[in-house]
Amino acid sequence: MISPTDESAPALPARASAAVGALRLTNWLSRVLGRGSGTVAGGRVGLAVDPSLLATLARGRRVALVTGTNGKTTTTRMLVAALAGSGGPAVVSNDTGANMPAGHVAALAGAPTGAVAVLEVDEGYLDRLIAATSPRVVVLLNLSRDQLDRISEVRMMVERWRTALGRLPAPSSPGEPGTVVVANADDPMVVWAAMAAPEVRWVGAGQVWHLDAVGCPSCGGRIVFDGSGGWACDRCPLARPDRMAWLEGPDLVLADGGRVTVSLGLPGQFNRANATMVALAAPLLSDHTEETGGGEGAAGTVADVLSRVSRVDQVAGRFSSLVRGGRSVRLLLAKNPAGWTAIFDLLEEERDTGLPVVLSINARTADGFDTSWLWDVPFERLAGRTVVATGERALDLAVRLRYAGVDATVVADPLAAVDRAVAGAAPDAADGAAAPSIDFVGNYTAFADLRARA
């Protein structure tokens, strides 16, 4: 949490107050007993004492919700950075990645009066969070296949989003701000859901994964992509809406004029896409009624937001580095086919260092038990690279890589796998120039495991 100053916390009803007390006690116990940070445990206890605690804590507060299959933790972090440095009110966030109601309650308990809440939301909880928090802004990034044994299939999810967004109150009457949805216009699934909302700002943030959006969500027709990001159904009028802003290479372009280069501390086009969403969302949460609708001021506002966002250089360990055997190892997280595709784009965007890549796959509850999705990931793009396969499901990965035509060595233990890659890498340049990193890419618990052990 950012600046959790209890002194200025608002007065709560008795039950909510008891719930917050129980939550704090649980978190304290959890910490002193060494059972973790306690965020989720405390949130669960709080919700058990007062099931309406989330709505109570959110009442009267300016809330932004960020959801999507990929990029929600990073985008949440970016939005916090955009607001926290702007001289406006304090900002609270569930920045530990606990993106279900227990995590939201934990983030909001003890938030100072007037603090803005930026909440990352699991895709399956968007409807509940909208109902409980009456958000000022909802950011919809993308929607594609992920953990099909846990989360429902894409089409069921998009219909749930659509229903929840359709219930938002009509556009703001004076003095009573409504909800503005900032939605990725390049993803047909997101568009179908967001169209139901009364007020939407469409942003062209790109979408690397089209395979879940070929069937039109409206009529069952076929979505045809034109190769430059545009798309339309071949049967009904559903098509990419007119965008207020879009990403063009490294530049954010505003429809009403203005172009700002998106220069970040985080790598990859997918992070420029996340930052673009933030650039359009952040002004809607600030005190001053900055407008990104047009004119010279809009580009200036966007540039200001982006300069604050550019200070983010890692997000809960994603994109951070560790050192093994004198060699820097960059940690990357990819959880589903779209996420892996974005990571391969990143590896291609950067110079091919010729260094080994370590891939780690687990299949625990948080990852999904079914590893079939590995066959949707275009591992063929790693052909010619030196690959070390590891993780609890290294053998599933090894078989997939064999059929992808990628030579891989299997090293069961992740840390040993990293050390094998380090040992196999060409020695650092003797002139002291910064040596390029070896990349480690893991899915959720594989990534968390390596961070915890290294």
Binding site: R145, L148, D149, E153, V154, R155, M156, L211, V214, G215, G220, R222, R364, F369, D370, T371, S372, W373, L374, W375, D376, E392, L395, D396, A398, V399, R400, R402, Y403, V410, A412, D413
Partner: protein
């Protein structure tokens, strides 16, 4: 290798990957094409999107999908007619999950209305009433299972199931295997999958052929044979697949209900 037909190349078509293939099922086509080419049999892998006529192929792979796309795929395949003609001429068909249901006589949509399938397998699918089977499935070959080129039985099948349908077998089709762990067809007879001639359906993804290379080679053997008997194929070095199979089979055996807390072998 003695393919009865002396066929020197193969075409493997992945049917409507834009509609079906939610669970990595496209991998089955890739595995078949690779295992043919590793044996010196050139193999074309064709991604046959919906909206265009189904191409002529020796093996068709139909994957799993969500309810809406499943109905659209079935309607398109019935209207197209090419799959039935291909089967009449000896083509091999592998259907997984929704693809398996489409090969049958009928299957339910999300509102539980029955939709006609292709009728290439004498099976009927209805909606299950209990909770959706999601987890590891292990099944073993029985007397009704297809025979390998050497006359032997298929080794145990291993994969992951996730489906809401209950499939009942009619008299003119046979079960692929008997369930050891998991649910499979779910009709109370303990069977998993079905086959008839050179058409085979299963609820297993993983995808199916990644963990069951003997079944992959059976399908290739069928495709290379002009009779009902599969052609003999030269063995491949399947060390990776063998290790994966044994890990998955022992993981399934050590956990109830196909789920396990943590299986970490160093």
């Amino acid at each position: 290798m003695t393919p009865a037909s002396g066929r020197s190349s193969l075409t493997v078509a992945v049917v409507y990957p834009d509609l079906l293939g939610t669970y990595g099922d496209g991998g089955n086509g890739l595995i078949l094409a690779r295992r043919a080419s590793w044996r010196g049999i050139p193999a074309d892998l064709v991604q046959a999107d919906s909206g265009t006529p189904l191409p002529v192929a020796d093996i068709y792979c139909i994957g799993g999908g969500e309810d809406g796309p499943q109905v659209r795929a079935a309607e398109a395949l019935v209207a197209d007619g090419a799959l039935r003609r291909a089967v009449d001429q000896g083509a091999v068909v592998l259907g997984v999950c929704a693809g398996y249901q489409i090969l049958g006589r009928s299957f339910p949509d999300s509102a539980d209305r029955a939709h006609p399938g292709l009728g290439l397998l004498d099976v009927t699918t209805r909606k299950g009433t209990g909770s959706r089977p999601v987890g590891e499935l292990v099944a073993t070959a029985g007397p009704d299972s297809p025979r390998l080129a050497d006359g032997g039985l298929l080794p145990r099948l291993t994969g992951f199931e996730n489906h809401g349908g209950v499939t009942t077998l009619g008299p003119s089709t046979r079960p692929l295997a008997r369930v050891v762990q998991g649910v499979g067809n779910g009709g109370g007879d303990g069977t998993e999958g079905a086959w008839s001639g050179k058409v085979l359906g299963s609820y297993l993804h993983g995808p199916l052929l990644a963990r069951n290379m003997a079944l992959a080679d059976l399908l290739l053997g069928w495709a290379l044979s002009d009779t009902d008997e599969p052609a003999h194929l030269t063995p491949l070095d399947d060390a990776d697949e063998t290790a994966l199979r044994s890990e998955r089979l022992s993981a399934a055996g050590s956990a109830r209900g196909g789920r396990w807390r943590r299986v970490h072998r160093r």
